[in-house]
């Protein structure tokens, strides 16, 4: 497939791997622990597992799967709000598909739909706007989730709704921001991280400049990466090279799509419609200042949080769940007590098991026979056998 197969060429891959091995060997002579790199984006986590890239990397390199799955980090309280909206008799609630199965404190949107809520899966906020146009006597609410990747299209949809003078369309805005989340992670004293693989799609919108704080204030290298296997390995190699040379910079491996200044039109639409929230709760990570977006008061007529009465309850994460530690890279999924037993993709307890992009779901789905999982502790193997598989 054009523009894809080039980035899956096994021969080129071998060359990059040799370089990675060489650099990893040099670097491990300098420090007594493994090199820990975090990929921030859920799409990267998914790709790493789908292509089995962890098994190709030398054991000295450990990938930590960061908080970049917007579905996973949605706190239960916000989901309860979403379900409340969906169950409102006047409302048609529209959402991206992967939010459907995420459990709130009582049940999920999928279950709410079965109980009679009018919930419709859409592929774009413009689809939601179309439903609103077609059904002027119903209130259509779009469940806006996602990082900066999806925020511009939501903002543009609001501007379109305003231009059309629509009165039956609104957003339940849950957009979150990447850089404040990284800063929150980096401020944690437990965290051991050597560098970052930066998100590709988010960076198409925000560019590479906003990451400079990571290199300049926290002294960590960051390489913005594409999603193909070769993209990821090349980005890992670029981070290692910075480490080997003692540099910390923001570099761009995904130059074919990502500009340093990002997508000016998209950013402009975001600024017009949204403002930064003073704080936003992240599932597994807690409140992070300035990490979410809300609608400006000028657009209050499109803000579901203004239009409807929502419970806004904070619901604590399950006690046994180690998602917070996993997202910070302090624990591996299989080190969580409930992983694969109490917490499975069928019945997720924590954020990381919820979406296929979450670290726990990815390990459960693709990685359960990985040598990295089966090596560390004998007892781990037992807790892994949620589906009756003997390893």
């Amino acid at each position: 497939m054009k523009y894809v197969s080039e980035y899956r060429d096994p021969q080129k891959l071998k060359g990059v791997l040799q370089e990675i091995n060489r650099l990893a060997a040099t670097l491990t002579l300098r420090q007594d622990r493994s090199i820990k790199l975090m990929e921030i984006c859920g799409g990267h986590t998914h790709a790493i597992f789908k292509y089995g890239l962890e098994d190709l990397l030398p054991s000295a390199i450990e990938m930590i799967h960061g908080p970049g799955c917007p579905v996973c980090i949605m706190p239960k309280g916000r989901l309860d709000d979403a379900i409340t909206l969906a169950e409102h008799p006047d409302v048609i609630f529209t959402t991206f598909g992967d939010a459907m199965r995420v459990p709130g404190s009582n049940y999920s949107l999928l279950q709410a739909k079965a109980r009679g809520a009018d919930i419709r899966m859409v592929y774009s906020p413009l689809d939601a706007l179309k439903i609103a146009r077609d059904q002027p006597d119903r209130q259509v609410v779009f469940f806006a989730i996602g990082f900066e990747t999806t925020a511009p299209s939501t903002a543009l949809t609001v501007l379109q709704a305003e231009a059309e003078g629509m009165t039956n369309f609104s957003l339940f805005c849950n957009h979150v921001l990447v850089v404040p989340a990284l800063e929150a992670l980096l401020s944690n004293p437990d965290l051991q991280l050597d560098g970052f693989i930066g998100p590709g799609h988010v960076s198409m919108v925000i560019g590479t400049d906003p990451y400079r704080v990571i290199a300049e204030r926290y002294h960590k290298p960051l390489v913005v990466s594409g999603f193909e296997p070769l993209d990821l390995l090349q980005s890992i190699w670029m981070v290692l090279q910075q480490l080997a040379e003692g540099r910390c910079a923001v570099e761009n491996q995904y130059g074919r799509f990502v500009q340093p200044t990002g997508n000016v039109v998209g950013l402009d639409a975001m600024r017009r419609v949204f403002q930064v929230r003073s704080t936003f709760e992240w599932r597994g990570l807690g409140d992070i200042p300035q990490s979410g977006l809300q609608m400006r008061s000028a657009y209050a007529q499109f803000d579901a949080e203004v239009k409807f009465n929502l419970p806004h309850r904070q619901v604590a994460d399950h006690k046994a769940c180690a998602c917070g530690e996993i997202l910070k890279g302090v624990k591996k999924p299989w080190e969580c007590k409930v992983f694969g037993t109490g917490c499975t993709p069928e019945h997720p307890i924590g954020a990381c098991m919820v979406s296929s992009e979450g670290a726990c779901a990815a390990y459960y789905k693709y990685g359960r026979l990985s040598s990295r999982v089966t090596q560390p502790a004998g007892e781990v193997k037992h807790s892994f056998n949620g589906s009756g598989i003997s390893v």
Partner: protein
């Protein structure tokens, strides 16, 4: 069951020149009432297409002569399936062709020769009669190709909103060849996995045919009957271990059922998987995995390693098997698990999905 058979009796097994022509443009509740309107509907739309002179018209049921059945084999296979697809028509097929091929294939993969099908329809009030005619015509064509007869049926009409346009149930009877008993529990290490062509075509087609995504492609559903291909395989390899048509849940789901049922491992090779470039592109775009996309004419066959070459050659000679390939092998371990060997030489687990595949948002 009685309605259509009753009509068959009166129409004397074929469409006579004087059969009443249904004039109503839409289905109304009257068409399900048991009265004249229903009789007209059945006689004009169903009996006209399906009536089968070789079958003596009988009472409220089709009747079979056991001696006739036994010329095909020594055991009966019996199956049923309901079809509720939206949209009713899609590139490469319709709910009608699906309702025939799906049930034919469920029989064929047991090693049975599919012979007789039922046809029950649930119609939503307001359905254009012309739509129903087109669906029934598609059923007739598919039944002819597969060599099966529709011998009895039923019609119900429900108020608008109580069903989505048109639902079909078909049940089918086939006779199993002597000495042939493929089963999911019979896989052994050293067996080989074959498939008769590209994966995920139907699933990708339906996704696009719903029109929610503004994409245009040339992908078509692979909706087709597999009984001819199964015959060709059984002729040279009656010791086939297992066969399945990989419908909902795709190849991944079928292989997981095999691996669990036989308590073996199955390893498939990514580079051997036949997937159309366009289907791969759609999957990349939406974050879906073609291994889980539905097919409606794809046979997954497990045969002993020693028979693999002969079976592959026979499959490739058959019209619905030109693109057949060996895609994997059966191993002792890890038991109950399907593994995919990627083009880079890494391996990952191919697990069962929890529910439908949901497009990822980023």
């Amino acid at each position: 069951m009685n309605a259509m058979n009753a009509m068959e009796n009166q129409s004397n097994g074929g469409r006579s020149g004087s059969a009443p022509r249904l004039r109503d443009p839409e289905i109304t509740l009257a068409h399900g009432s048991g009265g004249k309107a229903m009789r007209n509907l059945i006689e004009d739309v169903f009996v006209g297409h399906f009536a089968n002179p070789s079958l003596t018209p009988l009472e409220d049921q089709a009747r079979f002569d056991l001696a006739d059945l036994m010329q095909w084999g020594d055991r009966l296979a019996f199956t049923t399936d309901s079809y509720v697809i939206d949209p009713l028509f899609f590139p490469g097929g319709s709910i009608g062709s699906l309702a025939i091929n799906g049930t034919v294939n469920d029989l064929a993969v047991s090693g049975a020769t599919p012979l007789y099908l039922t046809c029950s329809v649930i119609l939503e009030e307001g359905l254009p009669v012309e739509t129903l005619r087109q669906v029934v015509q598609a059923m007739k064509v598919a039944a002819n190709i597969a060599g099966v007869q529709i011998v009895t049926g039923d019609t119900k009409v429900v108020p608008r909103g109580a069903a989505d346009k048109l639902f079909i149930n078909t049940a089918g009877i086939g006779v199993m060849r002597r000495g042939v008993s493929p089963a999911a529990s019979q896989l052994q290490p050293g067996d080989v996995v074959l498939v008769n062509g590209t994966l995920g075509d139907h699933g990708a087609t339906i996704l696009l045919a719903r029109g929610e995504l503004d994409l245009s492609t040339t992908v078509q559903s692979d909706c087709q009957s597999l009984n001819g291909l199964v015959n060709a395989i059984l002729d040279i390899c009656p010791q086939v271990r297992a066969m399945r048509d990989a419908t909902r849940g795709g190849l991944a789901t079928v292989l997981n059922e095999f691996a669990t049922s036989s308590q073996v491992g199955i390893r498939i090779q990514e580079e051997s998987l036949p997937i159309q470039t366009e289907v791969e592109g759609i999957c990349e775009l939406l974050g879906l995995d073609p291994l889980y996309l539905a097919n409606e004419g794809k046979l997954v066959v497990i045969v002993p390693g020693a028979d693999a070459d002969r079976v592959l050659a026979a499959m490739q000679k058959h019209p619905v098997g030109h693109n057949s390939r060996v895609i994997g092998e059966v191993m002792e371990s890890p038991r109950g698990t399907v593994l995919l060997k990627t083009t880079f030489g890494t391996e990952r687990v191919v697990d069962l999905l929890v529910g439908d595949q949901l497009p990822r948002i980023c």
